[in-house]
């Protein structure tokens, strides 16, 4: 029973990280119909920025907020300068740009900070509160931080005019323009937000997997799996999917003997294929019905 609790809570912590990645991916997917393959690398790059800030003595939570802010601006700039010229051209063009971004961020990080593995601090105390023992202090903190971030994003989209305008722009760009919404800027804002949310995932996972340029590769696959499982067209579903993938991954790794920790990533891939074959709209997704 202890093992089960441990594996579940550990899974929830990873799930929170996957949920952030999944949400970032879904936000851009909803607006553009494309998966941003560079989402993970952008998060990794953000984490290096946090690393540098910490290195210069900026206190952790200031670093956290600053990194989110810098990532937001970076995301906006990437959309405006690099992605915008190919928007609405062909699928292949956009995918190539996304993969190009992935390669660029990966090499850039290696070039600036080199490829050696670096430790990244956890901001959380040594012990989980309330004398809880089945969950590590970092895991506990990760669950808390990701929940706060996800709740903030939810409130932003639900209750602010800009959030509403962003949803409108994603759902029906033509109508959005007709009510005066600057759709191009909404898209840039979406990239900024996605980058900021991704940076949280990066900073939360780095103390566990250590900081290096390829740190987010696996995480991104789990994030995709979460987004697909929950429903690529539904941000809330994607978040739920992220948590589910985190828990599922740990359960399978623990209780299915031949999987162990080496084959865990395969779980995500199997999940992706299964969802795409049997329920492409995901558990909570909208089935797209077009009235003719």
């Amino acid at each position: 029973m202890d093992l089960f609790l441990q594996q579940t809570s550990d899974g929830l912590a990873f799930g929170g990280i996957y949920a952030c990645v999944a949400l970032a991916v879904v936000m851009i997917y909803q607006a553009t119909d494309h998966l941003n393959f560079a989402q993970g690398e952008m998060a990794m790059f953000s984490t290096y920025i946090a690393f540098t800030l910490l290195h210069h003595g900026v206190p952790y939570w200031w670093t956290f907020l600053l990194t989110m802010g810098i990532s937001f601006i970076g995301g906006v700039l990437v959309e405006r300068i690099i992605v915008r010229p190919v928007e609405g051209t062909t699928v292949l063009n956009e995918v190539i740009v996304f993969i190009g971004l992935l390669a660029i961020f990966n090499s850039l990080a290696g070039w600036i900070w080199d490829y050696t593995i670096k430790p990244f601090p956890s901001p959380f105390p040594d012990k989980a509160p309330f004398g809880i023992t089945f969950i590590g202090p970092h895991d506990f903190g990760v669950i808390g931080v990701t929940l706060v971030v996800l709740a903030a994003v939810f409130l932003f989209f639900r209750f602010t005019p800009v959030g509403l305008a962003m949803r409108a722009a994603a759902q029906n760009p033509d109508s959005a323009r007709l009510v005066g919404i600057r759709v191009g800027w909404m898209l840039a804002l979406g990239w900024g937000l996605a980058a900021a949310i991704g940076s949280v995932a990066g900073m939360m996972v780095a103390p566990i997997v250590f900081l290096e340029p390829n740190m987010m590769m696996g995480i991104l696959v789990y994030g995709f799996a979460g987004a697909l499982l929950g429903g690529i067209s539904n941000p809330v579903g994607a978040v739920a999917g992220g948590f589910m993938v985190g828990v599922l991954e740990n359960w399978v790794g623990t209780y299915v003997p031949f999987v162990g920790s080496e084959l865990k990533l395969t779980v995500a891939l199997v999940l992706i294929v299964t969802v795409l074959v049997f329920r492409p709209s995901g558990l909570f997704g909208h089935v797209v019905v077009k009235r003719v």
């Binding site: 005019p161 409108a168 759902q171 029906n172 959005a176 323009r177 007709l178 009510v179 005066g180």
Partner: protein
Amino acid sequence: MALLEVSNLEAFYGQTQVLRGLSFKLEEGSVTAILGANGAGKTTTLRAICGMVRTAGEMRFAGERIASRATESIVRHGIAHVPEGRGTFMRLSTEQNLKLGAYTRKDAAGVTDDLERVYRYFPRLKERRNQQAGTLSGGEQQMLAVGRALMMRPKLMLLDEPSFGLAPLLTEELFRILGTISSERQVSMLVVEQNASLALAIADHAYLLETGRIVMSGRARDISRDETVRKAYLGY
């Protein structure tokens, strides 16, 4: 001064030219109808005014040049387009759809007033205010589209086939409300309609479009008496 002044307007979809040099004026507070068969370029005329197709030519709205500007900049001058197919934000609620109509406005109190006014015109929308807009019936979505346009407090409304897909009774009601809006709120309207007699009934002026050219223009009353128009578009 004319509210909208269009001269020598041409519009293109890719290489295909759809409008071939339209020139017309719209007086402030007036209702103008554009009549014509399918493919004559009625919808394209409205889309061209809003910068949703590639155009050439000159367009002035309230004295300002609007030709070849971005759609979102053009509508901010006070042009509300009720698009063909209604352009509903399907996964937002009815009320959110309406509020988006007022997206560019800064006067919160005025917006609240206008929301109540729209609900007075269309009580059905109030009943369904928290319902997902995609689940509304076609007629309700048409009302929503008109309501969303009103929320802009526009100087000019462009209405594309407002009767499309509506039951006759509902159509009559909608046009009655449009008539009320134009006289009460001094909103100018440019109406595109297949149902010519309906459009002519509320219009002051009318233009007849054939393959991208204006072939007849005049007061709505005179046009509706015209022999050729009657035979071709009014059916009696």
